[in-house]
Subunit: 460 residues, 3 copies
């Protein structure tokens, strides 16, 4: 009584007008087919195979690790694709096999569960998902005798009465495992395209006296993607769906139409999201953090009560009550401990900024470990790259780095050390000491007048 | 014949799923209840009390200074809340008392004025705001006998005919001051919740033979906020309303759906607003200023013809024809006089930049006074913080600060003074003089070859 | 059998509440009237005159070079304006003359071509564009006898039956060239405004027994702009139309509602556009380039596979696979060759960055030529401005500039040269040599303790 699934993802999708296969086009950082595979997994299906064809290697590489795939070497139609997929599954007699299109990213796990529940024990050989379409043109109309489906008639073959039917199939099926294989084997390809059509299985099963059922889905479940603009519309609906979910969990959004949250993001209640926030990949945000306007964060963690705005974070971690921005770039390995601050025009990578430490202005910190309570002066550069290799810098607790300091790694500043403004530090500095290196300043009187005269002379 | 108002703001709003009371959730920088209090004030009401309960201190603190509040210590229903509020008002016999929900931020002052006008002199004991709802479910239906209201029947108590009524109450009332108190005192709490309901007052008044009237409002006036998504929808409508207002005043917007203007902002005609502009708090923008894309400005002034883009301003003032951005942060006390320029990657705080002076690139200017016509070289840092205290820097008119200069405050540069590139200035510089401090540069031939060899050796 | 056109653009547009004439208000970087003139040109019209009046010089200056204009010195109505325009055209007997309003930016070239095609050879004296309006109020209703137009009746003059007509005129006309002049000359101004109305020509022609035809247009073609909010709505429709066009060409957009593409932009398939991208003026983007979030690019070229985000580009060129951002400003004359990189907080102007060269962090590069494979250290300033003039800097191939270096132009670094961190380079550096200038650093022990003691003393 298990559930298996076959996701059909072999097509190129020429209407996308892209060199990339349709299945790999991106919605919220996840490829199109990944949304379907994700819904199948969330529905609790035991085993899922993705049938790949065009750009099979690229599509396979984009699937979650461990996803089973089957190669449809020739594009001989959806029936042939389903047969290819079925061969890769371990199906026992009383299993249900879902067959799904890989380009319908809005399918909900709950809908698949309803389809499985309706099919299981119903005695039906197959159960379809159908929707009532405001405009059914182009879809196969569902023919019924009461609650039994008696056929699907394609637009081209429909008479006027059939064309008026608004219940249409959306290419999601549950099949009795024991019947699907023989039915697929029996399919013919005697049609204009010379292809094996999965829809023909329904007619076959009905003709053989089997019962076929149907479950109504929300029209949103049935939205397929065939063009760039349909992809964008699907993305808009997914963003909206995700945002409504998080608002229901107590997340505040100033303008949800301008917030983009990926499927692997976790937000706590009372997170505040301003416009133009993009959370991609695995991002977690703790309660009371305030993010945006204008933040891109990928694969990052943001602690409780932290404040991030006008900044870009990649593989970064920000502690509780930390402050980031405006205008900060945190690159992989940037870790700000609690109450740390990365201010304005600051870039940090592969570095730890200690609790309560501040990097307020115009600094680059790379490959450094900064202790608690330090202050890094404006214009400080941690010169981690010697032209060939990167080296680490260690800055102790309570260190005060002066403005426009250059720290030439590897170098170590002891706790409570100071550096003078404009100093180039090339050796270690002891705890509590001041390192200062600066040429004596001389004053040259009357310089402005001479320069002005010279400029005048140059003009003539 | 005065008008008083009671704003009911005691609830927690559990459907917000927030630790913060609903009344304090933010729309355009103003808490939810602040929109209602603002509408009451704009409608010309003489005295207004806000009934607070959950998080009473926080709600009180968020109200405009001087707002009268009354504490409803126990949550015993809207009738009890109104009574609590009434006790705090000075109501004379012929006053009208408005009772309003604190969570309906879209109420317009004009609508309240219409309600007051309709009530006053009508002889009615009470007058309700009602709207015709496309979907009346969940609202109390208005029962009428001609233009007299004969009752409000709640959804649960309504028969089929009553449920078909689309005129519903939206919890805004005008009451005869002399009748409200006794009516509230007479309320019972014999219902499922054991609460005192303000709506029951209407039934009481009708039963006692009093006349109750109704005034139709725009459905937008009646939108209440009970969840985060409703808050976001209300915010969208308020943004739209405000933006239409300013466009009607001659403000150009490339895309009003991406412009966010707070209620205390003032714009002159021919202001140009590009997308992703946020104007919060008290902001004034003079004619022909062009703002955005991507600007956040709070409590700031922007002069005529100024240009600001990709920047963040807090408590800053920008003179006429000044230029700011892209990528500038102006912090509290930053003042740019006319034609001054803060260019790219520039942060300024608590400083005056003189007329026509330029801070074009990669500079931090803190606690400085810069005269007119100065030029601050790229990479200049005004080191205002000595590790313990901040000090001021004075830069005269026409000063030319060289690239990568560090000015260690307190320091003063006379008019027309120059500094050499890379100089650390720790003492005052006289007018017209050049301050220069820089180590002699030596050239070490063949360095690249030796470094390459060493790098190769290190690899092996 | 040629086609000529008269664009009426003389009005001020007082409902815009702007000091600027309506015709010059901006949509996607092009003035309102420019959209109409552009559609006329794209429709293949032989000669076009724009009738200017209010702010005639400003409007003329904003038109494409070489556009013919005619000055309507007095505002005597649309009929007078058309006569003024006609006088400036070379019209022969069998020409068709289009007359169009300058404030209808959504008119499509295809619609004008359909109008011309329908008129030519139809034997009609005039042919109108009409639309079926959901709400016809305010528009002139089209009276018909079969496919012949028998008149246009203005709202004010219409009886109830006429008001129910939903086919309305949208002020676009094709006239027989030989008949237009006499018809305009015959117009009277015996009406409330004392103006000559172009619509009256239709009545005249019908009365004289001429045939008048009509062509149905999409309602979008007929949208005129009379207020700032209508301008914003028209801009939204144009953005949408342009974005759909590019998506049909294979461009990926995460959220087309937040992408703004001007009419002179060219995109190749598989360009990826994230939100908050503004492409203005003449911009070309090659295949597989990924742009955004948050990019403004004007008059710039972006090569295949390049990556640009959180950046501003003006008159810049970026080669294939180049990387820009986050937080970069490329100003006029910035050229990045293939695989070059401008990283974080970098400003470049009038400079070439060689193939594969990197300017990763916190640098200003002005008036410099950088060879291939160079690395510019963080905090580097090319000090191109000596206070009076700008000078060029030359940086050879494979040069490694150390952190916080200042290059005082004019200066030249030979191939493979190095500079030490913090060096101020004022003279040329030979190939392969290291230039280093830096004061010796001394260490002052116990400094932190003394400073702390002093700070404590100062407090008391």
């Amino acid at each position: 009584m298990g559930a298996k699934a076959i996701v059909l993802a072999a097509g190129q999708g020429t209407r996308m007008r892209s060199a990339k296969p349709k299945m790999l086009h991106d919605i919220l950082g996840r490829p199109l087919v990944g949304w379907v595979v994700g819904a199948v997994a969330a529905a609790g299906v035991d085993q899922c195979v993705v049938v790949v064809g065009h750009h099979a290697d690229d599509v396979t590489a984009a699937l979650p690790d461990g996803t089973l795939t089957a190669l449809q070497a020739e594009q001989l139609g959806t029936g042939h694709a389903a047969r290819t997929g079925l061969a890769a599954l371990d199906v026992s007699g009383d299993d249900t096999v879902l067959v799904l299109p890989g380009d319908h990213p809005l399918i909900r796990p709950e809908t698949l569960q309803r389809l499985l529940a309706a099919h299981t024990g119903s005695g039906a050989a197959a159960t379809l998902l159908t929707v009532t379409a405001a405009d059914p043109r182009g879809y196969g109309r569902i023919l019924r005798d009461g609650d039994r489906v008696t056929g699907i008639v394609e637009e081209a073959d429909a008479d006027d009465a059939q064309r008026a039917i608004t219940e249409v199939g959306i290419s999601f099926y549950a099949f009795s495992g024991v019947l699907l294989g023989p039915a697929l084997d029996a399919l013919g390809n005697d049609n204009a395209q010379g292809e094996y059509y999965l829809t023909d299985v329904i007619g076959e099963l009905v003709a053989a006296g089997h019962r076929v059922g149907a479950v109504a889905a929300d029209p949103e479940d049935g939205i397929g993607v065939n063009s760039q603009s349909q992809l964008a519309e699907a993305a808009a609906l997914l963003r909206r769906r995700i945002n409504l979910h998080w608002m229901d969990q107590g997340v505040w959004m100033a303008d949800p139409s301008r917030v983009s949250i990926g499927p692997d993001v976790t937000l706590e209640p009372d997170v505040r999201l301003h416009p133009d926030v993009h959370l991609e990949g695995t991002v977690t945000v703790a309660a009371d953090a305030e993010i945006g306007p204008s933040v891109y964060a990928r694969d990052s963690g943001i602690g409780a009560g932290a404040r991030v705005w006008y900044s870009v974070l990649r593989d970064a971690d920000i502690g509780a009550a930390a402050e980031v921005g405006p205008f900060v770039s945190l690159r992989p390995g940037a870790v700000l401990l609690e109450r740390a601050k990365a201010g304005t025009f600051v870039e940090i990578k592969a570095s730890v900024v200690g609790a309560g430490s501040k990097v307020p202005h115009l600094s680059y910190v790379g490959d450094a470990d900064i202790g608690a309570g330090a202050n890094i002066g404006a214009g400080t550069i941690v010169a981690n790259y010697d032209g060939y290799r990167k080296h680490r810098t260690v800055i102790g607790e309570g260190v005060k780095v002066g403005a426009n300091t250059t720290l030439v790694a590897p170098v170590s500043l002891g706790d409570e050390a100071w550096t003078g403004a404009g100093t180039v530090v090339t050796g270690d500095v002891n705890s509590g000491a001041l390192a200062v290196g600066r040429a004596a300043t001389r004053e040259i009187p009357g310089y402005a007048a001479r320069r002005r005269a010279r400029a005048k002379r140059d003009e003539t």
